[in-house]
Amino acid sequence: MLEARDLVLASRLNGVSAQLRPGEITAICGPNGAGKSSLLQVLAGLLPPERGSVLLDDEQLAALHPRRRAQAIGYLPQSGEVAWDMSVRNLVALGRLPHADAGEAQVDRALAALDLRDFADRPVSTLSGGERGRALLARVLAGEPRWILADEPLAALDLAHQLALLEHLRRAARGGAGVVIVLHDLALAMNHANRVLVLDGGCCAADGPPELALSAGTVERVWGVPARWLGEPGGRALVAGSRPSSNSD
């Protein structure tokens, strides 16, 4: 269990509490400036909160040795930066740094899980955006963390790659990992997350199953956009900019 208790961070988080469970995909949604990335970084132990605390399996995250924390929590930043043009295998092997071993078996597993075996020896600069996104996620998976925290991992990907990456995350969650992702695309959150945490102005505006947390009413209240959901559960589409009709939502 990864638990946020009353987190406060200089004008970015104003008392956020949440209990995140392993085996689930939790999506953090909210408008720009709502505090999504800040919350993710505090949960990953990268930003110390001014008040409140994060508990990892009832242990204070701040008190954990950085290496133990890194073994438990894999963090995928939004930037996707890879400063040096190393091979995909070497990039993925960076995920083993907290374990201080080569972890060849784990690296091979991560490469295989994301269909990167054929790319293993290619320089990162030769990858397409989708392949690069997969390689960066494989880097996190190679550390075999119990928690995967990813900041907008789908932002630069086309639809097919978005769905493929979500499938990989779902597989990790089925394997027992807790997955927490910041998502801008509300339809993806609605259809693929087990749980959605909606942030607004640094506060938790809604928290629960996607059908409840992302109701048309919440979308209008938080994003200020009238919207309605179409389709069936698991295949919902958001029509924004139109008032909900009486038979939807």
Binding site: Q41, Q71, G74, P77, S79, V82, W84, D85, M86, L97
Partner: protein, 317 residues
């Protein structure tokens, strides 16, 4: 990818004895009178000093480029070389440079001062941008004070001594300089090598590196100490020698797997080779006075770097 370490070691093993024979007068160890004294007391310490200084500069350059994630970074950016130069210039200015140890000790004190200032300003946060700015500020301050010392030199002799020392050279260096610089540079390279894995993690950016368990404060401390010892002791015994830390990692990187950790030791070896060869070139050129090593390296380095940039531009097109 090739294996650069054995190749570079072999090149050094060939070049080091050859460099002992080269000079204004080429030595025949069996024929030249007093060959043993010339080799043992003049050329061997000078060659070893070139190896030691070059190794330090190469390793420091590789670590700096890894730390700043920028192939244009140079050890001079941290202000440690200008700090050491200021220390040495102060000893010349006050006329304390007569003893064999005083000038290098002043230079080391200058390097230590720059390191302490860096640690004081930027050490708490571990942020790279603030650290770089602090380094540039220290470099700029030390440079200004050095210029001030030159402009207010007590006499023409001191001014000429300062200016010629600032150009960097290995002329007339002996065993005491080797004993002073070698242990410090070796410890410095070891510290930089210890930072290798953290530098690898930094490839993914600061946040990702911290999420991989890297402590920014510890990494910064390792770099300040490592660059301080390698560059500071190099400046202390040979003056300011530029370009090695910038060029060598560039040359070596394509031979490695491009992880910063795999670049540090090969860069040390290649730096040693470059300074050794450059010093030989300084010795054998038929000029009235010996070409200063710092000038020679800049003369080789700047056009080479321009060529490198043009090639990079062509590849980018």
């Amino acid at each position: 990818m090739t294996r650069p370490i054995p190749t570079l070691l072999l090149a050094l093993a060939v070049m080091l004895p050859l460099s002992l024979l080269a000079g204004r007068v080429w030595l025949d160890p069996w024929e030249t009178p007093n060959a043993a004294i010339i080799l043992g007391e003049l050329r061997l310490p000078r060659a070893l000093l070139a190896v030691v200084i070059g190794a330090g500069l190469g390793a420091a350059g590789a670590a700096m480029q890894g730390y700043l994630r920028n192939p244009l970074a140079d050890p001079g950016l941290f202000g440690i070389a200008p700090g050491a130069a200021l220390g040495a210039v102060a000893s010349l200015w006050f006329g304390y440079a007569a003893g064999p140890w005083l000038l290098p000790l002043f230079a080391l004190a200058g390097a230590a001062g720059a390191m302490a200032l860096l640690a004081l300003i930027a050490g708490r946060t571990g942020g790279i941008a603030l650290f770089t700015l602090a380094g540039m500020m220290v470099a700029s301050l030390a440079g200004a004070l050095t210029s001030l010392a030159v402009s207010l030199a007590p006499n023409a002799f001191a001014m000429s001594q300062i200016v010629s020392w600032l150009m960097g050279a290995l002329t007339d260096r002996g065993w005491p300089d080797v004993w002073l610089a070698a242990p410090l540079v070796l410890v410095g390279i070891a510290l930089l090598a210890m930072a290798g894995r953290a530098l690898d993690a930094l490839t993914l950016g600061e946040a990702a590196a911290r999420s991989l368990g890297v402590s920014p404060g510890r990494l910064q401390a390792l770099l300040i100490a490592g660059v301080g010892l390698t560059v500071g002791s190099g400046v202390a015994v040979a003056g300011v020698i530029g370009f090695v830390g910038l060029i060598v990692p560039h040359l070596v990187r394509p031979l490695t797997d491009r992880r910063p950790s795999s670049l540090i030791v090969p860069s040390a070896l290649a730096g040693a080779l470059l300074v050794l060869v450059a010093d030989v070139v300084c010795r054998i050129l038929p000029l009235v006075t010996e070409l200063r090593l710092g000038i020679a390296l800049s003369l080789i380095g700047a056009p080479f770097f321009l060529w490198l940039l043009l090639r990079m531009r062509r590849e980018a097109l």
